[in-house]
């Protein structure tokens, strides 16, 4: 079994899945990340991350919703699992905790 650490890109994907709610499938996740995070993950890299998240049990998936534009092929939708949510919360808490330990971060944050 792989470790249950959450990588940076994995976290981003997981958050995006959460944000997209019912409509989270490959292309939609990719476009959402592109528009919000200003980075262009390749579809291969995205699916690779999705498959890792799935292996770690952070997401569930189900198939459906074939459209013409996809040549009649099904989509695979993802939702966050309970352990996925826990992992997100843990990661967020850890970050906040550490964030607060840095004394003058707020002062310098506005200056590059």
């Amino acid at each position: 079994m792989k470790g249950t650490q959450l990588g940076e890109f994995e976290e981003l994907v997981l958050l995006t899945i959460g944000a997209l709610q019912e409509d989270a499938y490959g292309v939609a996740i990719k476009l959402e990340i592109e528009s919000r995070a200003k980075r262009k993950p390749s579809i291969g890299a995205l699916h690779s991350a999705l498959s890792r998240l799935s292996d770690k049990g952070f997401i569930h998936s189900h198939e459906g919703g074939a459209t013409k534009i996809r040549g009649g092929r099904k989509k695979r939708f993802y939702t966050i699992s309970a352990s996925g949510k826990r992992a997100l919360v843990t990661a967020n808490e850890l970050r906040n905790e550490l964030f607060n330990l840095i004394p003058d971060l707020k002062l310098n944050a506005s200056q590059p």
Partner: protein, 872 residues
């Protein structure tokens, strides 16, 4: 059309991805493609698509490939082998034909591989080879056309360039090895002796067995000799400190052996037996600063970082610095001085256009031999293909059943290839044995001295195995692909007739015929040409003329002559600057504004009677007329023709000056005779008896029936007159035919390869006809029952080859004429390509084919129709 992702990329995606992922990924990629199509247009969308497909090479997506047939692979291989051996033993004759032809093919291409590798390995053994260059110079006429390239350099060049150019760090000069008499104890022999600078053994890597490479030439009276020479004269290689004498002029000079070198490798351009320090060259002091003539080769070491073209340009300075008088003189005539180049050591061997002292070779030979080897190899492979297609008829069922029980196509391909490679491997074994037997002949033809055992280095062995595998793959390609492509049902029902002759087989047979015709015509024409030049009347008698290199003193020549005159067997005696087949003195004479290039021969009296050359006008030189020896010359008809009709015997040649002959009067015109080999036409020539320089050769005409006695007599006389000089001689007519050794060699090469090709092709033909007969055995049976004669059966079989031979003729004859014309251009005297030769060739091919068909007809006739019709 254009708004679809590329199909192949889609297929690639299918091939890459696992089934679980495939549909989703296909969908995502298709959707993205549509998005991008709208946004960026078709091209970029496609490119993105391809990139995304390639991006799927990730562990999560890649299909796990199971090794499907792992469990029974070896059993299967065993089965292939078993079936292969069964097939071989069922069709023994066909297998034999295949093996023999592939054996010959592999042996020929291997030998030629050895040849080519050796040609290109020249001088590769010097670790320093990339920094060593040879000086060459190129003369151009004012128009810029190259007149002459040479590597003979002035003696002071070497030390001067090292002093003047910091890029050049070292040099060695090498003087053309010449025959000198070498004496050890009481043994005197002619040996090749060369001279070189002390840096010779530092620059080149000719390892010394004894002696220190930095010290060997410290003493001007030291010498290095090779292991071979040491063993020849001393029976041991440890000869440092021993004395060896070399004869210069007429006295022997002693040298102290300071080093013994390993024999020079066969693939070395620089070769030597005895090597002396340059400073001990007798005329060294005189020529040390003489820039006027190229006398030796100069090798230099150039710094690695040097920009070579720049350095070559800088070398120009040498002309103005050291040869300003030459430059001025040339300028007066409107000519330019030659340029200097630096030729990398690795290019020395395969550059025959530079006149120099190393034995070069033309890379053309490698190409021609390579081409011939490839032809033979191709014909051998073609045999295999033709026969494999022919006999595959019987294997349709096997293929059908194999397919039925689950063989994939690649298994079948593998099987057929394996069979071919099995045969080619076996042929390789036989080929290696064959090479052992033909190697002596090959060595003789190729001028190499390959040693059987040392041929098979690790690299060469790997290459040979590679050749065999390639041969097998090539030979098995067509059968493997076609037979395996049969549909299971039709293969089982035998609906498809694979046997016999199809278009592919026909084109293979045609090309075999074409190659055979090409080589037969080549053999015949080359043979005619060689015979023509050997039998041609040269305009003089070379029979019974003996050429003796003149080593005698002036007074001894007279004594020798008188002694010979006393013998009844010796008809006449003369002297000449050089015998006809040896060197020539060239000159050029400007007459009424026209340049006449000519050869000059200094001869003794009786020269023309000795060679039986006819006089057209005038008289022979007369020793009693004193002016003859100074100012009389005889010219040949060609020279007279160039002078024009106004010139008469007795006239003076105004302005003529050469070798001490000044404005001579012409006392006779002689009939033209061939001064050189017949590759050249007859040039103007003049003859003088002016005795300013020595004569290099003696000519003795003897009576035809007493050859041995005359030779013994001459030897005895020579030994009484000059006991310390060995007597050596040659026959002029042998010298003359010696000039055509290389032509004869090439004729032989073409002859042998055509014999090989034809025999392989014939074997193939034999097998093919046999298979055709087998395939049509029922037809033949019915025809016989209905009353066909064997003559009719014969034509039935032969008919199919008529057209093929005709097509082959149409292809091969023009090609042969083209190639042979190119070769014949080299000869000033040549045969024309006779239509009769061409027809004879075609007739030969027809006859041989008919013979082979005939043999098979007899077999077909003798089988009982009942037997052939009964079998089902």
């Amino acid at each position: 059309m254009s708004d679809q992702p590329p199909k192949w990329a889609g297929k690639l995606l299918q091939w890459i991805c696992s089934h679980e992922q495939l549909e989703i990924l296909q969908g995502d990629l298709a959707e993205l493609f549509q998005c991008r199509l709208r946004k960026y247009g078709s091209t970029r969308a496609k490119l993105h698509y391809i990139k995304d497909v390639l991006d799927m090479l990730r562990p999560f997506a890649i299909r796990k490939r199971k090794p499907q047939l792992k469990m029974n692979h070896f059993t299967m291989y065993k089965n292939y082998l078993k079936v292969a051996f069964r097939v071989f033993s069922k069709q023994k004759l066909i297998t034999l034909i295949n093996t023999i032809s592939l054996t010959i093919g592999i042996a020929s291409i291997s030998l030629i591989y050895f040849f080519i590798v050796d040609e290109y390995s020249f001088d590769g053994f010097h670790p320093n080879k990339d920094n060593i260059y040879r000086f060459t110079s190129t003369s151009v006429d004012p128009g810029g056309a190259v007149i002459k390239k040479t590597s003979y350099m002035p003696i002071p060049l070497g030390p001067t360039v090292v002093a003047d150019f910091p890029e050049i760090t070292n040099f060695t000069r090498i003087l053309q090895p010449r025959d000198y008499y070498v004496r050890v104890g009481n043994e005197v022999n002619k040996e090749l002796v060369s001279f070189a600078d002390s840096s010779f053994f530092q620059m080149f890597s000719f390892p010394l067995i004894h002696g220190d490479k930095n010290q060997v030439f410290h003493n001007p009276n030291s010498m290095v000799l090779t292991e071979k020479m040491a063993l020849k004269y001393f029976n041991t290689t440890d000869v440092v400190g021993k004395l060896v004498s070399v004869r210069f002029g007429n006295k022997f000079q002693e040298y102290l052996v300071s080093g013994v070198a390993q024999n020079t490798p066969k693939n070395s351009s620089v070769r030597f037996q005895f090597i002396l320090p340059y400073s001990s060259l007798p005329s060294y002091r005189r020529y040390k600063t003489y820039w006027g003539a190229g006398l030796n080769e100069t090798y230099v070491v150039v710094n690695k970082t040097t920009d070579l073209p720049m350095l070559e340009e800088k070398l120009e300075v040498l002309w103005t610095r050291y040869m300003s008088d030459v430059v001025a003189e040339l300028k007066e005539d409107g000519e330019v001085h030659p340029s200097y180049e630096l030729q990398p050591l690795s290019e020395v061997h395969l550059n025959p256009n530079i006149s120099g002292m190393t034995k070069t070779s033309d890379s053309k030979y490698s190409y021609i031999l390579g081409g011939i080897g490839f032809l033979i190899f191709f014909i051998a492979c073609a045999n295999f293909m033709i026969l494999a297609i022919g006999r595959s008829a019987g294997r349709g069922k096997e293929v059908g059943i194999r397919k039925l029980v689950g063989a994939r196509r690649r298994h079948l391909i593998l099987q057929f290839w394996a069979e071919a490679i099995l045969i080619s491997m076996f042929s390789l074994g036989l080929g290696v044995v064959l090479i052992y037997f033909v190697l002596p002949y090959f060595n003789e033809l190729s001028n190499k001295s390959f040693d059987y055992i040392s041929l098979f280095t690790f690299k060469a062995s790997i290459t040979l195995i590679g050749i065999a595998i390639v041969g097998g793959l090539l030979a098995g390609l067509y059968p493997a692909v076609t037979i395996s492509s049969l549909k299971t049902t039709s293969a089982l029902k035998k609906r498809i007739r694979l046997g016999g002759v199809n278009l592919f087989t026909k084109s293979l047979v045609t090309s075999q015929f074409a190659v055979s015709i090409l080589l037969i015509i080549g053999t015949l024409v080359m043979w005619q040409q060689v015979n023509f030049i050997k039998d041609k009347d040269l305009g003089y008698q070379s029979e019974n003329v003996i050429v003796i290199p003149n080593e005698l003193q002036q007074k001894d020549i007279h004594q020798f002559k008188n002694a010979l005159n006393a013998s009844p067997h010796i008809t006449s005696f003369s002297l000449t600057s050089y015998s006809l087949t040896r060197e020539k003195i060239e000159g050029s004479f400007s007459y009424e504004g026209i340049d006449i290039p000519y050869y000059m021969f200094r001869v003794g009296s009786d020269y023309f009677p000795t060679l039986e050359i006819d006089f057209l006008e005038g008289r022979d030189f007369d020793p009693l007329i004193s002016s003859d020896s100074v100012s009389s010359i005889i010219v040949n008809k060609e020279f007279a023709r160039r002078l024009g009709p106004d010139f008469k015997v007795g006239d003076k040649l105004e302005g003529f000056r050469n070798f001490g002959v000044r404005e001579p009067s012409v006392i006779a015109i002689i009939e033209d005779f061939n001064l050189e080999s017949l590759t050249e036409s007859i040039k103007p020539a003049i003859f003088t008896i002016r005795r300013l320089f020595g004569f290099e050769d003696l000519l003795v005409k003897i009576s035809s029936d007493q050859t041995q006695e005359s030779l013994t007599y001459m030897r005895n006389q020579w030994e009484t007159i000059a006991p310390e000089i060995p007597f050596s001689y040659s026959f002029l007519n042998e010298d003359v035919s010696q000039q055509y050794v290389s032509e004869e060699k090439w004729t032989k090469i073409v002859q042998y390869s055509s014999i090989l090709t034809i025999s392989i092709a014939l074997l193939g033909l034999l097998g093919l006809i046999m298979l055709t007969v087998n395939g049509r055995i029922k037809e033949m049976g019915i025809r016989k029952v209905l009353g066909a004669r064997s003559r009719q059966l014969f034509f039935l079989l032969f008919r199919q080859f008529n057209v093929l031979i005709l097509i082959a003729t149409v292809i091969a004859v023009p090609l042969a004429i083209y190639v042979l014309e190119k070769w014949l251009v080299n000869f000033a005297y040549r045969v024309s390509i006779n239509p009769f030769t061409l027809m004879a060739t075609i007739a030969i091919i027809f006859c041989i084919t008919m013979l082979v068909v005939g043999i098979n007809t007899i077999k077909a006739r003798s089988t009982n129709p009942v037997d052939s019709l009964r079998q089902e």
